[in-house]
Symmetry: C2
Subunit: 323 residues, 2 copies
């Protein structure tokens, strides 16, 4: 999950000097907020501060971020729109991200690993077609499910762009990668088998990872209960699980080989610390019952009103382990 | 699902003369829009036009509906707030609903059955505490999960109110009841076992149904993949399934005795009719594979931009059956 954010006063202090996009595009500032959760909370990894939609902008679909959330004023709606998109050279168009990765790596100095990331093809396509966030993504589904050739062309272009982008992050020093399929849950399993999982598989197959110590790849989405099996077959090393699916159940769907990540309900941070501690124990017990690898995490992003003290206590409870 | 709505020009024409709440509170108008989908689409049942939050207002938590969605300006946040709520006499406080039920029954004249409905206790509690809709319902979860006695008191009062309300709908002539736990998916299975399912069970146990031909009870929520088993044990006759869970999978969780309802992705209405027809066939095949009872429906509510022609075609495709 993104760890830096509005719940941190230190983040808000930096953010006061930049618009959100400026913050993403200013490597020193992006570096500073990336490091904040490591220093303030004591988490075991840093996750690059950025936005999944920057790559869409660099493909030629201009991104606007204001109080109404991310928007694409010229959404992708036709084959001509798809053909006009480019597969960008990431160093040229998103060089500030790789510069941030290099700065963060130097600052971290091996203390904790740095996780790079990208949106997944379906999620990026959904945003670019819809033009804004949505509950149902009906324009995106209507277009991609009624025109297979257009879907293939758009998802191919996005996939190629993501591969170059993630490889550039790896080359800049990212030690793990997380692929966010934020809107996976908008699709039925049948549609995800066409528009979702195969494209993530293609992204992962295209990564140039260290042959000796390959950087792990995490895939994550919410409302993915019925998609855990296909997600586990994408080549990912880790599958994120939201709080709706007990880890022991997730394990039955994912099989024994892939690690699980998650899955504390983020709203647990609003509970008294004794209850929060009990909930951490519950997740750890579930992870033990599930067997295989486990990365403790929230089951979804941390919310802006979350108390920092609770986030700090959470990290401490996790570090104590199963008692 | 609610069938009347903004996608119907005939609905918009009636709605132009009333605010949404006025429409709910004017039996003649509520009757008119309830009948529209039966006449225009040819569906096999009518579902009462109303709003799940009216009962909260009648309990003493004033409801405001404007362009920002439903809001409770004085949300429930303390034990004193809970104690101030009443268990309303439905004929006194919500008499217009029962009058609408009686009018609709007379107008339908046995042509198709009429389904009454209510929100489920958790969903109503979540709204009343949060004060408005939410993605995370963090205030509601924080309050109910950190204060068990308050949770018991609030959910009991809501449950008692729902029982009286649904029994009044049955007495007025409703021939089936649907309980909407719209925010079930905000809760993990562990939390749903405390705040969700047991209270629905208590509602259903409190219903005064016809001893010879008991009116069926349908429970429905979205993002309920992991909650289908507990929902099937509430005493409900039918469990609604959203489009994320194939009906054959839902059947393995629900067991053989309870019927399934659903589960076409509502955005299918935006696809060309040949694809829509194929998707109907897919649901019907899944239902056949699942075995047991099945009520064809969308997997969630119809969206305002849905083409009426597609909704009409959908009903026709379903009536043709599995080919």
């Amino acid at each position: 999950m993104r760890q830096a954010g509005r719940y941190l006063p230190e983040y808000r202090a930096v953010r006061a000097n930049y618009s959100f996009l400026e913050l993403c595009r200013t490597p020193d500032a992006a570096c500073e907020v990336t490091l904040q959760p490591v220093e303030i909370l004591g988490v075991d990894a840093a996750i690059l501060f950025s936005d999944i939609l920057l790559i869409c902008d660099s493909m030629g679909c201009p991104l606007v971020l204001d109080d109404g959330g991310p928007q694409f004023p010229t959404p992708v709606r036709t084959r001509a729109d798809v053909d006009a998109l480019i597969v960008p050279d990431p160093e040229e168009k998103l060089g500030y991200v790789m510069e941030a990765v290099r700065k963060i790596k130097r600052s971290l100095d091996g203390k904790v690993p740095l996780i790079g990331f990208s949106g997944a093809p379906w999620t990026l396509a959904a945003y670019m077609i819809e033009g804004k966030t949505s509950r149902s993504f009906e324009k995106a589904k209507a277009l991609l499910l009624s025109d297979e050739k257009l879907a293939e062309a758009l998802l191919s272009k996005i996939t190629d762009s993501i591969i170059l982008y993630l490889n550039a992050q790896l080359a800049a020093g990212a030690q793990a990668l997380q692929i966010f399929d934020s809107w996976a849950g908008a699709l039925s399993p049948e549609d995800y088998a066409k528009l979702g999982a195969p494209w993530i598989e293609r992204v992962i197959a295209g990564l140039k990872r260290d042959p000796v110590n390959p950087q792990p790849v995490i895939v994550f989405g919410v409302e993915t209960g019925e998609l855990l099996a296909p997600l586990s077959r994408t080549g990912a090393d880790v599958v994120g699980v939201d709080w709706r699916v007990p880890l022991s159940v997730a394990r039955t769907r994912v099989g024994p080989k892939v690690a699980l990540q998650g899955n504390l309900d983020p709203t647990s941070l609003f509970l008294p610390h004794d209850i929060l501690a009990a909930r951490v124990q519950h997740v750890l017990r579930e992870a033990k019952a599930a067997g295989g690898g486990h990365i403790f995490n929230l089951g979804h992003g941390i919310t802006p009103a979350a108390p920092v003290e609770a986030a700090r206590a959470l990290v401490e409870f996790v570090h104590r382990g199963l008692t």
